[in-house]
Symmetry: C2
Subunit: 598 residues, 2 copies
């Protein structure tokens, strides 16, 4: 029988007492600051019952609080019910941040206990500062949850795959050389890489340790003389050994990393990215007297710009993915009301995974009808899967991991005839999506400059979506990646990255009305060079997603003439690009109808 | 006879040698970090011959460089010709910043000499950091230019005016209380105010020490117990003495400020704004062991939000100013080609200054035809004043200091029939101006979020204007004020201020084609509450400027339908609001024609 959250927290509080701590912090984290964590690291979920992909739990002797962002308000409210945990809506007016809470409510002399591997160096430093100004202490030690967590899932160590050159476009030698140049530029001689996707990218490897994220647990230390890759022994196969031998990479056991790091003394400065390196790594390096340069990882920036070969693969894969989704949309529209969310999600997942080059989903499919779609990251389950009804919106946000790219796409469909007000909202969201997709901008612009193009039509209705408009997308890697993003404001620790040709960003405005409905339309865009003159270089977007936007949900009157032209032009291209991929004449007929000029 | 720039620089270099300095820095600055400086402080202009309102001159033993921004490239190129001074285009790709130049070109051991009063603390700290990383020293001392500058204009000390309550809307007592609250909030007990407009605002005083800026030279020290105002003795009249006595303000001579400051020891932390306090003040405070809090001045933030009374006055004054400009535009359009820039500027200035409540211009009128309009801050002079010709654009950017507000407005007029390409550019600039004016945005948005609304139509033509879209505007104060602005990127030291109800911003996109033409259309906007719901508070803009946009320069085909509606709606309101102010039937007829529906 499952333990109740209140029981779990009581057990934790006993451990806290034994360790002389008044507070315990559990972030959503593994030792690599991964956005999505494997079940083995789902500590915050185990302690709180909240299943969202982002949230920070703070447990005190008498109190417990969970911070999460706008995507999860509705879901967190539901899941935290009866847990005794207070929901803190990050970023809402008047809501204290974790640091502000510490400064306001911690008593002088209090101790906060945390697992230093399970928090990023950046967050750790921010906490330390807040604690110190409140006269409190931080204690870094072994994880306190581990002993309570009887059925904790085992850690994963799947075999690592060496990517064939035809999928890469840039070999490890070149990437290592570029990295060393970037380190020199930043005044460093060495670096520690902790983010899993960065290491996968650098070595052209892929793993399967985190569901939907083709990464393997690893640490990397690059010095002038030597490159050491720490990987789990079960994950290392002959192929990887041969690659490491050929490329002069020292393979070391994952478990030995912290011991090795403690013994290491770097000659020059060592660069680490405080956003992806965990707090323990920073503390070990500093304790040993190493000179550290805290800076954005050069690998992160390099990885975000896709090379020509990658771009070719991505175009091909997105087209294939668009065809699958379009076939699925036809199914949903034709079956109409009566279907249930979970069966639909499973059908779409099977359609994707039946493709020869699709090995996994890129995240758990969001298949949500009516009020469920107001929860941005809703997931239908065996226990709860609603049935589609006439007059509502069905939202599906999904993607796959392909040999040749990671996809992500959202469409919202009208089931039967939907009320005029919903149509209007859908139409304005569509206008926002198209406005961003058609933007022309000067090189140097960041996502913050562009965000309003997608958001303005929503703001004009006196509505807002409490999340960013767009995120970067990995290449056969994580579906969310930085440094680029399209947001109104930066969140703490986020940087204002310029949009560079070769970067991918999602374009996904929406409206979310709690208890009623949700609309999101998402295309993935590739930043492209447009023209250059004495005023500078101008950039634009190439859409990668080619899926019809449901015209049954469009109120043509609510489109400005140029927006209507954008939509018709997009649909004409969808038809042109997708038709050759649809063999079934009924699919073709659907596409024809779905992309008609309005 | 005027000394040549090369001779001046040679004399300066001798002084530098005597002082053991290899480098000398002259910023555009007075001791109060004023944007516009009085002739007495025009050191950078004296040394370089460059007359723009922004620029930093660095003089070395063999070299001299001047950094200025995009508004002044064309003008600076012209004025620096034959001076031996290299123009550094700030912000252009590949152009080193001053700090980067220091790090790259200064030899280890070099000394940079500067007048610590004539550079802001923030710039001083940045310089110090760059110098220290280049192994160089900074030497703060008496101004080196003073001895060379034989005909240096005398310093100004005009009488200070105490504003009548009916012009204020908020009295000094309340403002002081708010300031003390803000200081406590920032963890400080005292503050030093150096910015002149902040002091004028706090005390409800006005001066006349800087042309077009109704400010008086002053320093203010606020502690828990005492408020000291340092003013020039000649500026202090009976009225000010009585006010100071009533309000318990200690009046001290301006000249004694640095001596007093050196002797002062503050009980708690003292707040100073490094952007407006000069470097010497910071050094004195720190040398004396005072704890300093470097933060944005709370007065700056408070001053930017206009109270209800101020808003009433501003509306009235902007309408009056709009009527004057409209009458002037009629004159220009009717007279057409053949007039000269300087005469036109003088006519407009006279028209404004003949109004009973207009005491000064808010900046030197920009009256520019053809290629001259490509220089954003061009000023026609006796020596150079071009004649308007058929087929070109005439740009006039001007404003007044009124009892009840500071105005700023730009219009561009077609003289005769202009080429289609110019019309198209004008039309797209107009579309950008209208898009920003009609924006709806969520509270919390900053100017950086909104900038693209005005700039997108210009970017779509693969053009860009190398300046911000908008700036704050003072109330009976400086025509440029912060903290708000509307820009793509922040400049060093600029903060990302949220737009708050009650703030003014200018909305002035443009195109500038060197050697050919310039277009700028500028309205001033007041941030207003629009509506509030569970998604937050939504804001919008109330236009304050009511002046026709020249329809002869509009290519109706280049307007999207909703843009045409915006323009027609704006013109209908211009007509409605302005008509009662125009007594001359021919002015009324002009307004009628100029605001016709298209």
């Amino acid at each position: 029988m499952k333990m109740r959250i209140s029981e779990i927290l009581e057990s934790l509080r006993i451990s806290m007492g034994v360790n002389g701590a008044q507070w315990y912090l559990a972030d959503t984290a593994d030792p690599h600051a991964s956005e999505y964590v494997s079940p083995h690291y789902a500590e915050r979920e185990f302690l709180s019952g909240f299943t969202g992909s982002a949230g920070t739990l703070l447990v005190g002797i008498e109190t417990a609080l969970l911070w999460t962002d706008g995507r999860y308000y509705v879901q967190a409210e539901k899941e935290l019910k009866d847990s005794g945990i207070t929901l803190m809506r990050s970023g809402d007016a008047g809501v204290l941040s974790l640091e502000q809470y510490i400064e306001k409510y911690f008593a002088s002399g209090d101790t906060l206990f945390l697992d230093g591997k399970l928090i990023s160096a950046e967050k750790g430093l921010r906490l330390k500062k807040a604690l110190s100004s409140a006269g409190c202490k931080i204690k870094i030690g072994r994880n306190l949850t581990h002993v309570i967590w009887k059925d904790r899932p085992a850690d994963s160590a799947e075999e690592i795959r060496v990517l064939p050159p035809e999928l890469c476009g840039c070999d490890y030698k070149q990437k290592l050389k570029d990295l060393k140049d970037a380190l020199a530029e930043a005044g460093a001689e060495a670096c520690v890489l902790c983010a899993l996707d960065e290491q996968m990218w650098l070595f052209n490897l892929r793993g399967r340790d985190i569901p939907c994220n083709p990464v393997a647990y690893a640490y990397t230390v690059v010095t002038k003389q030597k490159v050491s890759l720490y990987a789990k022994e079960r994950a290392v196969n002959d192929e990887l050994c041969a690659f490491a031998r050929d490329e002069d990479i020292t393979l070391r056991p994952y478990e030995d990393f912290y011991k090795d790091l403690t013994d290491l003394h770097f000659e020059g400065a060592v660069l680490l990215d405080p956003k992806s390196c965990n707090f323990l790594i920073l503390r070990i390096l500093q304790r040993n007297g190493n000179r550290t340069v805290c800076a954005d990882s050069p690998v992160k920036a390099a990885k975000a710009v896709k090379n020509e070969k990658e771009q070719e693969w991505i175009r091909k894969v997105y087209l294939e993915d668009s065809a699958v989704l379009t076939r699925f949309l036809r199914y949903v529209k034709e079956q109409g009301a009566g279907q249930d969310e979970l069966s639909l999600a499973r059908r779409l997942d099977e359609m994707r995974l039946s493709l020869a080059d699709c090995s996994d989903l890129s995240f758990s499919t969001i298949s949500a009808f009516g009020p469920n779609a107001a929860m941005m990251h809703y997931e239908a389950t065996e226990e709860h899967s609603d049935v589609l009804k006439e007059g509502g919106f069905y939202l599906v946000d999904s993607g796959g991991q392909y040999d040749g790219g990671t996809t992500d796409v959202t469409r919202t469909l009208a089931i039967g005839e939907v009320p005029a007000e919903l149509k209007k909202q859908f139409t304005r969201v569509c206008a926002g999506m198209l406005a961003l997709q058609n933007a022309v901008f000067l090189s140097g612009a960041a996502g913050r400059n562009l965000d309003i193009l997608a958001r303005q039509p929503v703001w004009e209705m006196a509505m807002d979506y409490k999340c960013g408009t767009g995120h970067g997308v990995g290449y056969m890697l994580n579906v969310h990646e930085g440094p680029q993003n399209i947001r109104t404001k930066l969140q703490p620790g986020q940087t204002d990255a310029e949009l560079l040709p070769g970067m991918l960003v999602s374009d996904e405005p929406g409206v979310y009305v709690a208890g009623s409905h949700g609309v999101r339309i998402e295309n993935i865009l590739l930043v492209q060079h447009k023209t250059e003159n004495s005023d500078g270089e101008f950039l634009c977007f190439e859409p990668l997603t080619w899926v019809p936007v449901d015209l049954d949900a469009i109120d043509a009157e609510a489109l400005k003439p140029h927006e209507r032209e954008w939509l018709n032009a997009y649909h004409a291209k969808v038809r042109e690009k997708l038709m050759p991929l649809l063999r079934d004449p009924e699919d073709a007929a659907f596409l024809h109808r779905a992309t008609r000029e309005i």
